[in-house]
Symmetry: C2
Subunit: 387 residues, 2 copies
C-alpha cells in the first residue's frame, strides 16, 4: 500500500440537511458529496491509498429529519488535513463545489480541539466586553453613525451626542467605509476623539467600531491606523472581505469584532439550500472570531423568522469547549418601542442596535440615546424585581 | 443648502430583476432599494442635501420582463463615490443588505470609464493568452492535477505527462492548496520544473495555474513565491478569498487569472434571488480581472442550463470599451466524447477543461492528453474546412 503524508488521523464533522426529490437515494447523494468535496474525480479513479487514509469524506450518519418533508440530516466527516488549516479552504471543503448543486443546507460544523488556532472563536466574548464596558446587568446599547455622505466632522458630532447619551457601542453604518465624504483615517480619528471627550465628561465608556471593508493592502493600513489610534473594536462583513480576512483580524489584533451579515443573504433565502442563519451568522461567524454577530431581527425590514433568530442567538451563546460565547445583535429597522419585546425574546446577553429610529426620536441625539438606554435599563430592572 | 464633498457627479448603473408578489408596488420596492443600499435610514430622516447630491440610489428605469411572470427589470443608479472605489464596498452597494431580502436578482452592472482602475478587466484576455501559448485557431485544452492527497512528486509526475501530451494549461484541482501532502511552495516548484522539462523536450508551451486559497498574509507569500518561480498563472475562487483579494491579484501581478466558481452557488439556485450566472461568473468576474472563468457546464455534475451557460459565455466575450474579453471554461465532469458537442456550442474562443476523465482514458496521461488535444484539433479543422 502507498503512503500519504498526513499529520493526523483526526476528522471534522459537517451536518448537512439534504432534501430528496422523488426516487433519489440518500446514500448515493451523500457519497457523491464525500467525493465532490475532496478528491473530485470519478469514484473508479480514487486510489486505494486514499480510501485507506480516509482522504475522501466519510458518511458518518443519516437521520430522517422531522422539519421538512423528504429532508434528511447527513453527517459527513473530513480528514482535518484537507482543511489545509486555512479558513478559505475549510469553507471550500464544507460547501465549495456543492454550493453549485441544489437541496443541500449546512446545519452544523463540529471540530476537534486541534482546530483551536484555525477557528479561535471570540477574543473577548460576552464577559470580556462586559468587563471593558463595566456593564453587567442589562443588554448593551449600540447605535450607528449614518447616513453615508456626512463629513467626518458631522459624524464626529453625532458620535459625541450618542456617547453623551450613554451608548455602549457606536458603529459606523456598514456602508460607510473610505468614501471621499469621510475618509477612513480622518473619520476614525475625529470620531474617537469626540467619543473620548464625551466619555471623559460623563464618566461612562463607549466603544467605537469603524467599518473595515477594503481590499487587503488598504485594509491592513486601516487596521494599523486603528491600533495606533486607540480604537478598541471594528465592524466587518465576513462575506464581503472574505472569512479568511475576518479570522486574520481576530488572530492579528485585539479588536472587539462585530460581524455584519451584508452579502450573506443568498445562503438563507431558500430553506432547502445554503446554510441556516444559525450556522453561518451564528456558529461559523463565532468560530472565526465574531464577539458580536449582527442579524436582521424578525419583524424588521428583512425576512428571518423569530425561530431562526432564536436558533441563531443560541448558536452564538451556547457553551462550547474553549470557544467563548458571543453576543447576538438583532437589528434592521428596530425601534425604541420594541425594546421590551426584544428583551423578552433575547434576554440580557444581547446587543440591541437601534440606528435610524434614534434620529426620528429627537434632533438631540444625546436625548434619543438616553431614552434608548432608559428603555433597556427599565426592562432589565423590571425583570430583576420579578426574579 | 449644505454641501457634500463629492469628487464627481458620475453614477454607475445596476439592473435588478425583481419579482413581485401579488399587490406589491414596484415603485415602492425600487425606492426602498435606493435607500437600503445607500443612506439606510428612514426616508423622512434623509437630509435634503443627500437628495440634491444624488447620494441615495435613483430609479432610472422600470421595464416589465418577459422571462418570468411578475418579474420587472429595474435599473438603479448609484453615485460613484459611494463605491469608495473599492471592490468590497462596490459589492456592498450592489447587494449587501438586499441579499437578505427576497426576489431580487442582479442582472447587470454598467460602469463609467472612470472605473477602469476599480474594475480593470483581464490583464491578458483571449488574445493575450493565445499569444503566450502561440495557439490561435482552436479552443485551449486544460486539465487538472488531482486528487488531493497525492505528494508534490506525484503531482509533478502527472504534470509532466499532461505537458508531454500537449495540454495548454494545467491547473491545480481547486481543492489542492497548502495541505501537508503537497505544501504550496514545494508543489509549485516541482510542478513548474516538470512542466519546463517536458516543454523543453516537446517544444510546446504549457502554463501552470496553482490554486491560491489562503488567508491574506499567507497568500501574499504564496504569490511572491509564484512570481519569483516563473509561474505565469493562478487559479482562485473569488467567493472564497473575497473579490477584493482577487482584484488585488489582478492589479499587483501579471499572472493569468483563472476564476473558480466554488462557494458562489447560493447566488444561482433560485432564479428569483441572487445573481444570474452571466452576471456573477461572467460580467463581474471578468471586470475584477478573470482571464478565464470556469463554470459548471450544462449536462455535467451541476445544474446550469445550456441557456445560462451561453449567456455566461457571451458576458465574458462580448465587446466592452477597454475591458478585454475573457475565455469561458465549461467544466464539471466533462468527457472527451463531448468535445465536438462543446465545440459546436461554445466555439473556438473557449478553454475546455477535462479533469478526471483523462485519468479514466489511459494510465499514461500523456496519451490521454494527446487524445484530448487531437479531439479539439479535429473539431477546429473540420469547421475550418466547412467555412
Amino acid at each position: 500500500m502507498g503512503t500519504i503524508n498526513t499529520t493526523t488521523n483526526e476528522r471534522f464533522f459537517v451536518d448537512y440537511r439534504i432534501t430528496l426529490n422523488d426516487g433519489q437515494d440518500i446514500k448515493k447523494i451523500a457519497q457523491e458529496i464525500c467525493i465532490e468535496q475532496t478528491v473530485e474525480i470519478p469514484e473508479d479513479c480514487v486510489p486505494q491509498t486514499h480510501w485507506d487514509y480516509g482522504i475522501t469524506g466519510i458518511v458518518e450518519d443519516i437521520i430522517p429529519s422531522d422539519k421538512i418533508k423528504n429532508q434528511v440530516l447527513v453527517s459527513i466527516s473530513y480528514h482535518c488535513d484537507i482543511s489545509s488549516y486555512s479558513v478559505p479552504q475549510l469553507l471550500n471543503t464544507l460547501f465549495g463545489n456543492i454550493s453549485l448543486k441544489n437541496n443541500i443546507r449546512i446545519d452544523n460544523l463540529r471540530v476537534p480541539q486541534s482546530f483551536s488556532q484555525l477557528l479561535p472563536g471570540p477574543r473577548w466574548g460576552i464577559d470580556g466586553i462586559r468587563e471593558k464596558l463595566d456593564v453587567f446587568n442589562r443588554p448593551l446599547t449600540c447605535t450607528a453613525l449614518k447616513p453615508v455622505g456626512l463629513s467626518s466632522t458631522e459624524l464626529a458630532s453625532m458620535a459625541s451626542q450618542f456617547a453623551t447619551g450613554g451608548a455602549d457601542i457606536i458603529k459606523d453604518d456598514h456602508g460607510i467605509t473610505n468614501q471621499p465624504f469621510a475618509k477612513f483615517e480622518d473619520r476614525v480619528q475625529r470620531v474617537q476623539a469626540a467619543i473620548n471627550e464625551a466619555n471623559a465628561k460623563s464618566g461612562t465608556k463607549t466603544i467605537y467600531c469603524p467599518m473595515l471593508n477594503d481590499e487587503p493592502d488598504l485594509m491592513k493600513k486601516q487596521v494599523d491606523f486603528c491600533l495606533k489610534s486607540g480604537i478598541e473594536g471594528a465592524l466587518a462583513a465576513p462575506m464581503l472581505i472574505g472569512c479568511g480576512a475576518f479570522v486574520s483580524l481576530r488572530r492579528q489584533t485585539d479588536l472587539i469584532l462585530m460581524a455584519h451579515p451584508a452579502f450573506a443573504g443568498t445562503f438563507f433565502h431558500s430553506n432547502l439550500h445554503g446554510a441556516t442563519p444559525a450556522f453561518l451568522l451564528g456558529r461559523f461567524f463565532r468560530l472565526i472570531g465574531a464577539d458580536i454577530s449582527i442579524f436582521p431581527n424578525a419583524g424588521g425590514r428583512f425576512s428571518f423568522t423569530q425561530e431562526e433568530c432564536n436558533e441563531l442567538s443560541d448558536a452564538l451563546r451556547m457553551p462550547d469547549n474553549n470557544i467563548l460565547p458571543a453576543f447576538p445583535a438583532p437589528a434592521g429597522g428596530m425601534r425604541i418601542e420594541r425594546v421590551s419585546e426584544m428583551y423578552e425574546k433575547y434576554g440580557k446577553d444581547t446587543v440591541f442596535i437601534i440606528g435610524g429610529n434614534l434620529q426620528q426620536l429627537s434632533d438631540d441625539l444625546s436625548v434619543a440615546t438616553g431614552l434608548f438606554l432608559e428603555a433597556v435599563r427599565n426592562c432589565a430592572c423590571a425583570t430583576k424585581e420579578i426574579l
